[in-house]
Symmetry: C2
């Protein structure tokens, strides 16, 4: 487009065309939420680069006072505009186009800067020095609140045509809309962060309550203190080695921590008995999977925690309890915890079984592999100890003597 030629034939249409073409790239900037200052500077630059205006600036409206704070500009080379007193109150400083546009909440055009009676001498002098003949200002309204103001200067008297003002008002309206979107996005991110933090709190709380609940069994049955914690640790290491997904490993941790919770119903006298248990006492002990299941069954852990409590004493060949279920009738998690449970119970270095220990424990699961115990977790358990050098952590030290018969109960 050749300005020289077109200007002579239809200045109005050509100006609008120049202006709109210059603004076209602004859309993509509006669509990308980001740096407000960069956005306003870009808008000012585009408007001045269109050739339609001598200069442009944007001022922010700060809640709580009437000052207009200089924010971005184009075509105003010296920094003096930043120190210019512009307000939107009813003082003499409040009647620049910007001040008037804010008060009216709509576009304001000053057709001849030299003759307007309302503006201060200082503002008029600035226009005279820079050869600005007319000016226009447009408020930027965000969610109904005055947010900023755009002021434009033209080198011609009556430099803002009516259609042109419509276009500029539409542009500032779009900027307001884009800022609303940006604000909405920020709010969404904030609520997202808050939600995530809340989720983390609940995760920690749930983990804490599970751990506390697990510790209650240690109080009831102090001779096997830490048993559930150790089983949980080993079962997790096995599950990881088996390549189970992270959520399932997490579920197995909870299941390990709570698999013996039903012991709470076994009379303490039986749990702490040194002598061999009678048939009747043994049958009370063997109820703990059922009791545990009852305690846990209504909690939606998102993993079979109650089922593990119920099935961790079942054996592949149906020789386990409480139901004598065979392999296919139990969940994999229960078969994993069953192996970890046996190993921890045998390996635990308790005074009365100093002859035993880890080697005997691994011997037991190797011997029972595919008969009593699922071969997959058995192999994994052997690998976890022999290759990955897993070891139980016994910060509470060895527990008090207990009848060997009660092992792995």
């Amino acid at each position: 487009m050749d300005q020289r030629v077109t200007r002579t034939v239809d200045p109005g249409a050509v100006r609008i065309s120049m202006l709109l073409h210059a603004l076209l790239g602004v859309n993509s900037l509006l669509l990308k939420p980001g740096d407000t200052e960069k956005l306003f500077r870009m808008v000012c630059d585009r408007l001045v680069a269109s050739g339609c205006y001598s200069a442009a600036w944007v001022g922010l409206i700060v809640p709580g006072n009437f000052k207009i704070v200089p924010f971005a500009s184009s075509g105003l080379e010296d920094a003096s505009w930043k120190s210019m007193e512009v307000t939107w109150d009813n003082s003499p400083y409040g009647f620049t186009p910007a001040g008037k546009a804010i008060k009216a909440r709509k576009a304001c055009v000053m057709a001849d800067a030299a003759t307007d009676p309302q503006v201060t001498q200082h503002w008029r002098e600035m226009c005279r020095q820079k050869a600005y003949q007319s000016a226009a200002a447009f408020p930027v309204i965000v969610n109904g609140d005055l947010h900023a103001v755009l002021e434009l200067y033209s080198g011609a008297v009556d430099g803002f045509g009516r259609e042109e003002v419509d276009v500029l008002a539409s542009v500032t309206a779009n900027i307001g809309l884009a800022l609303e979107l940006a604000e909405a996005e920020i709010k969404r991110w904030e609520s997202d962060r808050a939600l995530q933090a809340k989720l983390d709190d609940f995760k920690a709380m749930t983990a804490g309550v599970v751990k506390a609940m697990s510790s209650l069994v240690d109080i009831i049955d102090p001779f096997t203190t830490g048993h559930q914690r150790q089983v949980a640790g080993l079962a997790c290491a096995m599950a990881q080695d088996m390549g189970l997904p992270a959520e399932e490993v997490a579920g197995i941790k909870v299941a390990g921590l709570l698999h013996d919770v039903g012991k709470i119903a076994v009379p303490a006298g039986i749990l702490r008995k040194i002598e061999a248990l009678s048939e009747e006492e043994m049958s009370l002990v063997r109820k703990h999977p059922l009791v545990g299941y009852d305690i846990l069954k209504n909690i939606d852990f998102g993993s079979p925690v109650a089922e593990v409590a119920l099935q961790h004493h079942e054996r592949l060949d149906g020789s386990g309890y409480p139901f004598g279920l065979r392999a296919t009738a139990t969940c994999l998690e229960a078969r994993i915890v069953a192996v970890a449970d046996v190993v921890e119970a045998i390996a635990a270095q308790r005074p009365y079984r100093q002859d035993m220990g880890l080697a005997k424990a691994l011997e037991e699961i190797s011997r029972g592999k595919s008969v009593l115990y699922d071969p997959w977790p058995v192999d994994s358990c052997l690998k976890v100890f022999n290759e990955k050098l897993f070891s139980f952590d016994h910060p509470d030290g060895p527990a008090e003597p207990q009848d060997p018969q009660n092992l792995a109960v």
Copy 2:
């Protein structure tokens, strides 16, 4: 702007001006994520309304095949365009401007529809019937993927100037950007929903584990079954009556459910003893607040749950246990639970105390008000029973006899 006059002087600039002005309102539509079909229809309408084009349509590109699916249009009154075979493969149907624009991933102009050798007879006939002389098409690319195509028809041969094609390409690029934003927003909403669902799961899980943990005390001390649950219910009703915020009421519920968890460490024989307890036995019972605190202290409930377990037997005048703390040294939650605890223990309709009941319970807290018990929760408790008709719910029925001396332990 008067078309008749300006067209004679500078058709190029005027067309661009008309076009851009028509498109200005599209921005605000792009900024508001929403209905894609409405957006495309609006764009087609605006383009045709600008007076620059005879018709416009948008077709969607569906993954997995080469068909272009009719989606929105303007200026195509009959429905025949919807049945028009348009593809972007290498068959004869794939060489309309739309098909070519998609294959090239850039704007494609057909300067003279009547003479172009590549298009099918059917497409050429359509142009002839509708007096379309030229056409152009623009791909809409979203996140690097072909999403749609815009095809425009002009009544003039060579109807698409170079600058005009730039403007239209920029508009379709903006539409692609807006769709990317809309897609990002949908993904954010989805992740938000997923996060919220996960949070709800964890809330339910935590509540379930707290309830299960609370029920363990019922197993250990079956003579006061449901005591913690009843205290939690009453304390919540009181806290609500006192106008405490919802999170604090929720915290008091958890505290009520767990305040006696330390009883787990009291030998069952003592808890179930019918006869009066010895001094030594009593001192064991009086350890339960300390044990409960130890069990709960490391869990961040976001409310003083462990503190309530520790302080619910303290009394205003320092006559309570374990520390003999006075009012100001205990938390409000503990003073609320203390009142609910005493009332439930006395009011519980157990066979051996049929003479007692609610009246006696309320008499006790009234008598102890401001001496043993914080007057605020006492007044609230009286109000909750007398005015709000609160009642304990005892679905488990009356419990077995127990020594009165053990009340409220």
